[in-house]
Symmetry: C2
Subunit: 204 residues, 2 copies
């Protein structure tokens, strides 16, 4: 069984993924992937993370691990990161029994027919969730938070849509879409695990 969880920033998708992996006894992958890709490409983790979050399409102060700035329109390392990502995620898919959050795993692993979840929520609920989890002393206005959501999700969308025939967040590309607005995530995990076990195409 392979499950992928795509998610809007602040929707609790990571919590859904972690708890679901625990409930189903699946290996869980999220930020670990960044470390693996950084090791594989010999690039800085901060840079790899930035490429994976916004496709390296933003100007990035390219000072890590190299002395010469790149002048190419598509600097080689961006491609390196994407190629490494594909390679590592496919190797994980090959082993099976895993749940991967983000990183376009839904598209990269499509030949393995993963169960593809998309987690989303309304703005008020995402803002409340982020505030609750913010480090002490962090204060953003609603407007600032909404701008940040747009930036982060915009990055995810761009990178996903490079690879996919369906747009990020378009229902056609997912098996189940969960709105976590006003939902206690912990409470729905057993039912969600059961749903996926029954629906999983490999078991048909």
């Amino acid at each position: 069984m392979i499950i992928t969880v795509s998610r809007q920033f602040g929707s609790g998708g990571r919590e859904v993924g972690k708890r679901l992996a625990d409930a189903l006894g699946l290996q869980y992958y999220d930020k670990e992937l960044v470390t693996q890709i950084a090791e594989h490409t010999d690039l800085n983790e901060g840079y790899v993370s930035s490429v994976l979050e916004n496709g390296g399409f933003k100007n990035y102060a390219f000072t890590f691990g190299r002395t010469m700035p790149f002048v190419s329109a598509t600097p080689a390392p961006v491609t390196d990161v994407l190629v490494a990502q594909q390679k590592i995620i496919k190797a994980i898919g090959q082993k099976g029994n895993c749940l991967i959050v983000g990183r376009s795993a839904d598209v990269i692993l499509k030949d393995f027919k993963p169960f593809r979840i998309f987690v989303y929520a309304d703005d008020a609920s995402k803002i409340a969730r982020c505030r609750q989890r913010a480090p002490e002393g962090e204060h953003y206005t609603d407007k600032q938070m909404l701008r940040r959501f747009k930036e982060i999700d915009g990055g995810r969308r761009k990178l996903h849509d490079l690879l996919s025939m369906h747009r990020w967040g378009d229902k056609a590309g997912y098996d189940l879409m969960l709105n976590t607005t006003n939902i206690n995530i912990k409470a729905i995990i057993p039912a969600l695990a059961e749903y996926i076990s029954k629906a999983n195409k490999d078991e048909q």
Copy 2:
């Protein structure tokens, strides 16, 4: 508990709704509503059904129950049907413990905070489903069926979007979106019922 099920034509949304209502012991409403509205408005069921499926926006041979054709751009009975629909669906919502398939009930009942499901599937799966259920002797090409899906769903969309701030089929307007492609609907019903029971906002 109030559940609404919106669905793409051919996705099995009606089956999801019927089985889910049975599993949760909820009163089920689908085509019954057309009969109620027809009785309420003293209009022909075929006409009411056509208004509810495509908003009466198509030319309709207006020969039922009246002798004079309407010349107004928006013939009064269309409004009558929509008003009656709202009235009847709201009365059903007031009673609670029900599941309503289609008829924009997700929007009409929004003050009751229903759990809003959207059911969809890919084209191949919808075609297969329709063929399996077609009366003997009915033969449509794939192309004809796809055109029919577009017509029917287009009608649902138009009527829904008249009332809603979210577009028909846009995830923002639903609590859970189910892709029934390759899924055995019967098998997932207990998990789905459990998910909704846990997620239901009224129980928070």
